[in-house]
Amino acid sequence: MNTTRNQPSARKFWSWFIPLRRDIGSWAFALNRITALGLTLYLFLHLGVLGLLAQGPGAYDDFLVLTENPFIKLGEWAVVAAAILHGLNGIRIVLTSFGVGVTRQKQLFYGFMLIAVFVILIFTARMY
């Protein structure tokens, strides 16, 4: 009997990343993880950048000029979007983890995603 193939293994760690043909729950799970990784990366970048404040006005204000660069702006937009998506999905997880709406988790997800898109649009309008 061949017992190695098809077995669980850490190599399959990335299996959560491509929820092809899976249900909406897996997409929410993948979305939650991607946004989480992005936000954590941003968190430490953000802390690094704020360090410039300690060096006095020059360094920090020069950096602010950078934020006009369209790529940085797009990056910031992505961070805002990620925060909104992750936050709302996180609330869905908290609710379902305490049994609230656990039988209607799909509707919860759609509802929150609708709100997320709406808020992101406001921010996009605000930023551009």
Binding site: M1, A10, N32
Partner: protein, 242 residues
């Protein structure tokens, strides 16, 4: 004569010494037949070395779990009409996360041992099968479906769960649901089994198990309820009311 469809069964094949490959079986089926009937005909008339597991043919034994077009299905109750059309191809693969014995037959050993480790109840006489301590707010009409003694140990949730794919240590949806059916109050020894890295805290709410469960067990809801029980137990232990 009933309506006839021509479909192609694209079945995962793997013998001990050969590399896995797919074989195509062109079958003439009636859309009101089940996927398992088509697989059994492929064995009976086309290729006698095709290995697959089946027994009851009416979703009470849990032997015939397979992945059909990438989604976990109980092949004995999956109507061809529901998942295919005339001329379609059905890709049939064994369940994920189980060692493959050969072709579509997998070794369910480690899963049954996990069910045994939480003392999952098998078949239950109706008189004794009070609904395992359901949380208060389950709606009445749904509760008549939610009876864990319906868990037929088919392994679909184990195959569908994204976390199960990363480690064989994780208890998995069905065993956790079985632990919830007992309840921590009634079987306190379960607390140490489920409250750990391989227990309830490993579930990341993908809800795939409930999506594929053919017996209305709703393991995801039960894992969430089990979490509350574990938190309750830990808090009461902390404040000494245990």
């Amino acid at each position: 004569m009933t309506e006839q469809w021509n479909i192609t069964l694209r079945i995962y094949r793997q013998k001990e010494n050969e590399a896995p490959h797919f074989d195509n079986f062109n079958m003439e089926v009636s859309p009101d037949e089940y996927v398992l009937d088509a697989v059994e005909r492929a064995w009976a008339f086309h290729d006698r070395t095709l290995c697959f597991r089946h027994a009851c043919h009416h979703s009470t034994c849990g032997a015939c779990g397979m992945r059909v077009n990438g989604v976990e299905k109980l092949s004995c109750i999956t109507l061809i009409r529901d998942i295919a059309h005339n001329g379609a191809t059905l890709k049939v693969e064994p369940l994920r996360n189980f060692p493959v014995v050969s072709d579509l037959a997998v070794d369910m050993g480690f899963f049954y041992r996990k069910m045994e480790s939480v003392g999952a109840r098998a078949v239950l006489p109706v008189m004794e099968a009070e609904i395992g301590n359901p949380p208060a707010q389950w709606e009445a009409e749904a509760s008549q479906y939610i009876r864990l003694s319906d868990c037929i140990e088919c392994g679909l949730c184990i195959s569908a769960c994204p976390i199960m794919a990363t480690t064989p240590e994780y208890l998995g949806p069905a065993p956790l649901a079985a632990a919830q059916d007992h309840g921590i109050q009634r079987k306190p020894e379960l607390l140490s089994i489920v409250d750990g890295e391989d227990g309830v805290w490993r579930c990341h709410s993908a809800f795939e198990c409930t999506a594929v469960c053919p017996s209305f067990v709703d393991p995801a809801r039960r894992i969430m309820d089990l979490r509350k029980q574990v938190v309750g137990a830990r808090l009461s232990k902390l404040f000494g009311k245990a």
